[in-house]
């Protein structure tokens, strides 16, 4: 019972708080700006060359106000907005008109989840092991080389890194496909050939996300490991004649992984943004590309839906990690 009260309930509260704060920001900030989105939309339509008489504009204004939820007082708008959000109703998409936004998102979500989970898990694992080794043998030359490489790669933003990979592998070497999720003309099936095709197309986006992910994890892991090396139990283990290998994997890396789990949860929002960007560069058929189409066509409802879904998704992911954490850390389990 103690566990539920002291661990579970605070986590659940913070889960709903994060979603609430996020949705409120999404509601408030556009309304703080002096620009009227309805007027903006009408301007876009009229500059495209369509002539509209005043009556039609009047009508359009009303419809757009309905769509954007701009009716009534600010408080009423906010309540309406929350109600629609809870029901998962984001209205129809503009650029593929009658199709509801939730359907479009549901179609592209699996691609993003696949790319994101594979790359995050692998880069977290590889980064931790490499970072552990680097921190353990910090006096060796190769360790310092690896560390410096990570230091140079790490600050490059996702978009530019993906672009560089695209230029190298897609345009100069021409060995990997530059866009899409699978070859045109193949139908999705569970055959070996289709899966090979899928992997081939996913290789560049994965490589681009994983390199950056590994660099970040490696660096923070190295710092944690260096702090652990100063702890008494390591000194004792060394003095007691524990082999280097056992010391590294059983004593050092296992202990250093705990803060890294929290670190993963904290940086998940950033990694997710990176996945969206990487998808845009490689035209991967996930949420990022959907978002890009939405931006280009001014599809406000779709952008809104994607933002809301990603807030909920990230918060849920962090909640799951938080709830799994006691499995890894006995100190919390037995408190």
């Amino acid at each position: 019972m103690n566990f539920v009260r002291r661990y579970l309930i605070p986590r659940l509260i913070s889960y709903f708080l994060v979603i609430f704060v996020g949705i409120t920001i999404v509601f408030i900030v556009p309304r703080l700006s002096p620009i009227d989105p309805v007027q903006q939309m009408i301007n876009t339509i009229t500059t495209m060359g369509t002539y509209m008489d005043p009556q039609a504009i009047e009508k359009l204004t009303e419809t757009l106000k309905d769509l954007y939820g701009l009716r009534g007082s600010l408080w009423q708008q906010y309540l309406n907005f929350l109600g629609r959000f809870i029901k998962g109703d984001f209205g129809p998409s503009f650029f593929r008109f009658p199709v509801p936004v939730s359907k479009l998102i549901a179609d592209s979500l699996p691609w993003t989840v696949g790319l994101l989970s594979v790359s995050t898990f692998l880069s977290w694992l590889i980064g931790n092991i490499l970072g552990g080794i680097c921190g353990f043998f910090y006096q060796k030359k190769w360790a310092r080389f690896l560390e410096n490489t990570a230091m140079v790669i790490r600050p490059i933003p996702y978009y530019i890194f993906a672009l560089i990979l695209l230029l190298i592998f897609g345009y100069f070497l021409k060995i990997l496909p530059i866009a899409g999720g699978f070859s045109i003309g193949t139908t999705p099936s569970f055959s070996l050939r289709f899966i090979a095709d899928l992997v081939k197309y996913a290789l560049l986006p994965l490589l681009s996300m994983m390199t950056l992910g590994i660099a970040v994890t490696l660096q923070s892991m190295r710092l944690i490991v260096q702090n652990i090396l100063r702890e008494d139990f390591i000194v004792f283990a060394k003095a007691g004649g524990v082999k280097n290998r056992t010391l590294l994997f059983k004593y050092v890396i296992r202990n250093a992984m705990l803060p890294q789990i929290t670190g993963l949860a904290l940086s998940m929002g950033q990694i997710f943004g990176g996945a969206l960007i990487t998808e845009i560069v490689f035209s991967y058929p996930g949420m990022g590309t959907l978002l890009y189409n939405a931006i280009n066509t001014g599809d406000y409802n779709l952008i809104m839906g994607i933002t809301a879904i990603s807030i909920v998704g990230i918060a849920t992911f962090i909640l799951i990690i938080d709830l799994l954490y006691p499995l890894f850390d006995p100190r919390i389990r037995y408190r």
């Binding site: 700006s33 560089i164 943004g273 809104m304």
Partner: protein, 286 residues
């Protein structure tokens, strides 16, 4: 001056400092540009690099080199505005939360936690797509600043929490200092070094977001920044047409800028932490 000399002993700092100085020089050079960066078709299009145009011209009929100097200047301006603005929020939130503690602290920290966890990119895209085209350099800087403070507010709060337990706090309270006086005159000097070391990191972060937003076409595309330069190059299919000088210039500049900003911040924070400073001396001696 002595600090700078000490810092320059570190290879990371030397590299970062040199590159930043060169980029700053280019940015200052933009004030002496013979051309207006917003005008199109001043020169013949797509000329490869030559003596007349050091980095060639682009498909918009502009000189790539002078365009790049403006881009560096504007990107730096945005990042400085964003960094300053978010520093102000971070200092206020950190000082208030740390000093008052209790309920105020819990409230402010849960807000900053939410900001930390939220997926920033979709939110920024949503906001800037609504006010697209109306974003001046200043308002883009402010917008990025709104989201850049939570991590540093936490750092400042942690510092103030430890300061509050020190003896001089009691001395000043007992000798009749007002709260505001205490916080500003006694705590702020301790907090400021922390603020400076986070400024550089925050600048790199804001330039990264600016580049991303501009490539997606969500900032004011008439203002040359590193992001908008890339946006135009990609939109005109510079890759397929083989106009590599147009595309590579912003890529190389921004990669250099990011790496050097990051190295500077790493080196400075290593310097300000006495433990790692000792380690560094040890490595140098080996």
């Amino acid at each position: 001056m002595r600090v700078l000399k000490d810092l320059l002993r570190d290879g990371k700092f030397r590299f970062g400092f040199t590159v930043i100085c060169i980029l700053l020089f280019l940015a200052i050079l933009s004030f002496f540009s013979p051309y207006d960066p917003t005008k199109w078709n001043i020169f013949p299009r797509d000329l490869p690099p030559s003596f007349q145009h050091i980095l060639g011209t682009n498909s918009k009929g502009q000189d790539v080199f002078w365009e790049a100097t403006f881009a560096i200047r504007n990107s730096l301006i945005i990042s400085v505005i964003a960094a300053l603005f978010s520093r102000i929020i971070a200092i206020i939130v950190g000082l208030v939360a740390g000093y008052l503690g209790g309920r105020v602290d819990r409230f402010l920290m849960s807000i900053s936690d939410s900001f930390l966890i939220l997926p920033l990119l979709p939110i920024l895209i949503l906001i800037s797509s609504l006010i697209k085209g109306h974003l001046s350099l200043f308002s883009l800087g402010i917008l990025l600043g709104i989201f850049g403070w939570p991590w540093d507010a936490r750092l400042i709060r942690a510092q103030v929490l430890s300061l509050r337990e020190r003896e001089f706090t009691y001395t000043s309270i007992l000798s009749g200092y007002s709260t505001i006086n205490l916080v500003i005159k006694e705590y702020l000097p301790f907090v400021l070094p922390l603020v400076f070391s986070t400024v550089i990191n925050n600048m790199g972060w804001s330039i990264g977001l600016e580049v991303t937003l501009s490539i997606l076409g969500l900032s004011n595309l008439a203002i040359p920044t590193l992001g908008t330069t890339l946006h135009w190059a990609i939109n005109y299919q510079a890759m397929l047409l083989g106009i590599w000088w147009w595309l590579l210039t912003p890529i190389v500049i921004s990669v250099l800028l990011f790496i050097s900003l990051y190295l500077l911040s790493v080196s400075i924070s290593e310097y300000s932490d006495p433990r790692t400073r000792i380690q560094r001396i040890g490595i140098a001696k080996e």
